[in-house]
Symmetry: C2
Subunit: 231 residues, 2 copies
């Protein structure tokens, strides 16, 4: 049983219930089996913070009833997955209009709309194109085969997990947590001083630590420059 | 008499010797008199760090022989100002070529070259254009009327001057300098956390402090986040 702000790592395989099509997984072998393997992706358990709402609502709700090490198959209705299908989001547009935008539509192609968002091309005929602006998985019941592989208990471990989320697994950030847990002090390594999005990463990391781990703490980042820095 | 790493503030009016044309000044009234007043520019004494080479070589050299409060007129030969004129940098190009680049050249116009750098249009006739790639002030002797209005002695003042250089006059940066002068510690205000070029500004500020004020010090920047930061 998990509650808000618990840090759990899960492995999963998710499928469309109707068709059995595998849509996502954290496990390399499963991705290969389902022909969705992406060599650019790092297959490893996913960190879910209960209450954060970064994963499907139905998945997060179901996870509250898991225990560490437990593996279950759960079924998520559309309303708690990618939403119901909205028939009014199916639209007829002219082929000429899309071509003017540099798009040559073909059935099943996903295109980016000039007004924002994405659409799936349903059909092209007689100069008319039918576009579906619903999420491709809208209206689908999703099956998750999930295992909770690890649960973090210790604040230091949780902070470390958040550092990895924002600075990558092999980051060089170091931190100290005072015994009273009022202060988390990071030293930023020199290599990161000119990282273009360093400010954003520090911001979101501090925000996550304060939101999910130690709400009353001060999270500090220290950057020390000396003459060696500029050699 | 000034030496390397001295911080001096100067007011000046600079002119082309031949023509008397005023090219630059730190004094609003002088700018207006010479019809070069720019309402976007903040007229105030310029910080020159001796040995930094951010100003014309001849100006910096001459400043070494000033005293605080002294005002003098100095004459800078081309070689220590904008360089000698190089006749081989005057080139003939076809009008068509420039037009293809979207440029409609007229005499005295300064254009940006496709291959980088700038050029002055000398003449346009019969489909031919003469371009001068020399600096507009190349070959000119420059007259500076300079006054050293202030000299900084104290390290704290020098650091403050550098903070103003990089964070503007009304910045909210605060710092502490330890008594042994081994540590300069800045606290970055929350308002600056998402400043897009904060990392660059901290970098150049630390570099200037270490280069020109306290070479053996550690310059630290601390950013403290707490729950108020995210409200």
């Amino acid at each position: 049983m998990f509650k808000d702000n618990d840090f759990v790592y899960i492995d999963y395989v998710s499928k469309i219930k109707d068709t059995g099509e595998v849509i996502d997984t954290t496990i390399e072998e499963e991705a290969k089996k389902a022909n969705i393997y992406d060599p650019e992706k790092k297959y490893k358990p996913l960190l879910v913070i209960i209450g954060e709402h970064r994963v499907l609502e139905g998945l997060e709700e179901a996870l509250r009833n898991f225990n560490e090490g437990e593996q279950k198959e759960i079924e998520i209705p559309p309303s708690k997955a990618y939403g119901e299908r909205d028939p009014s989001k199916v639209k007829l547009v002219s082929l000429g209009e899309l071509k003017r935008q540099g798009i040559n539509p073909r059935p099943n192609m996903v295109i980016r709309l000039a007004e924002g968002g994405y659409a799936t091309v349903k059909s092209v005929s007689g100069g008319r194109v039918i576009l579906d602006l619903n999420h491709p998985y809208a209206g689908k019941t999703i099956i998750y085969n999930v295992k909770v592989v690890k649960v973090l208990k210790d604040e230091k471990e949780k902070i470390q997990a958040l550092v990895e989320r924002w600075f990558g697994e092999n980051n060089k950030m170091t931190f100290e947590l005072t015994e009273d847990k009022k202060s988390v002090k990071f030293e930023v390594p020199k290599d990161y001083f000119l990282l273009e999005d360093l400010q954003t990463r520090k911001y979101v990391l501090a925000k996550d630590i304060i939101t999910f781990v130690l709400p009353e703490s001060v999270v500090s980042f220290v950057e020390n420059y000396n003459k060696e820095t500029f050699k």
